[in-house]
């Protein structure tokens, strides 16, 4: 059975390395302390051979730092500029993951991302396909909620 999480890990790793000069490591889910309260949730729909959505959760401070690295400018709040930039980063990661899936003969497309700030991500739709990741600027969680399309 194809591991759907692996292309998302590779894509996240590559995008963080090339765009942000950051390494990512897998961390145990119980150590995701930064995501226990308030998190920025960028959600992106998937259609095709697999259907569902991918939820990316970032601490707000990490979101601001990512956009600071990209723009070279200090960011103080999650405004339209920051929301758009982080959504595009997620769009790029997800698009690259689709390319990875395609090499495993799984053909899917992404839909436009949506963003919200969740007071807590404890009520998120907990799937069994979670990537819990750590970087030097914070922790992120990728919740992969995909099912094979019924023919």
């Amino acid at each position: 059975m194809t591991d759907f999480t692996h292309p998302f890990f590779i894509a996240t790793q590559e995008v963080f390395r090339l765009m942000l000069d950051l390494d990512i490591q897998v961390t145990p889910p119980e150590q995701l302390s930064e995501l226990k309260n308030r998190a920025v949730n960028v959600s992106i729909g998937i259609v095709g051979d697999l259907e569902g959505k991918i939820d990316y959760y970032f601490p707000e401070s990490m979101t601001l730092e990512i956009v600071r690295i990209l723009s070279g400018m200090e960011m103080n709040e999650l405004d339209d500029f920051v929301a758009s930039a982080i959504s595009e980063v997620v769009n790029i990661i997800s698009g690259n993951a689709m390319t990875g899936l395609f090499s495993d003969q799984v053909q899917c497309d992404i839909q436009p991302p949506s963003i919200e700030v969740a007071d807590t991500c404890s009520n998120r739709n907990k799937s069994d396909k979670l990537l819990t990741l750590e970087t030097s600027i914070g922790q992120l969680l990728v919740d992969i909620q995909l099912v094979k399309k019924v023919a």
Binding site: V15, L18, S71, D80, S84, E88
Partner: protein, 139 residues
């Protein structure tokens, strides 16, 4: 500073155009993100967007010509990526014309532009540099 030396491809014309794009985007952001009232910065924003619209088209054209000249094998896919982004920019331009240059929409455009440009130059365009390097090694 948005530009990083690692973005250099080693193709003089393309590198100069990338640096110009990064400089323009950076000065656009400085105006856009300043605390000045929107009415005072909207003209500068419009000017920069006009420049970007023309310069991006010219840059994409020059880069695509270069890829064909060196026989870059992923040229068609690269051209598609350029076309997709041009189409997205045109959608924003249409919205600006219909709704006016409202600050939230321009901020949204700028956020997308910054992330897209960095990914394109740092990842997609670097594959051209890798290809050229392979050609040089094989020669």
């Amino acid at each position: 500073m948005m530009w990083k030396d690692k973005y250099t491809l080693g193709v003089d014309l393309i590198d100069k155009q990338h640096m110009e794009l990064f400089e323009r985007v950076e000065s656009f952001l400085l105006v856009l993100r300043s605390k000045e009232p929107w009415e005072l910065k909207v003209e500068k924003v419009k000017e920069t967007l006009e420049f970007m619209k023309e310069y991006v088209v010219k840059h994409f054209h020059d880069e695509e010509c270069y890829q064909r000249k060196v026989g870059y094998p992923d040229c068609n896919r690269h051209c598609e990526i350029h076309a997709e982004f041009t189409s997205e920019v045109q959608e924003f331009v249409k919205l600006f014309e219909e709704q006016g240059y409202e600050e939230p929409l321009v901020q949204k455009f700028a956020g997308k532009l910054v992330a897209w440009l960095i990914n394109h130059v740092a990842a997609t365009d670097q594959k051209i540099a890798d290809y050229i390097h392979r050609l040089e090694v094989e020669a």
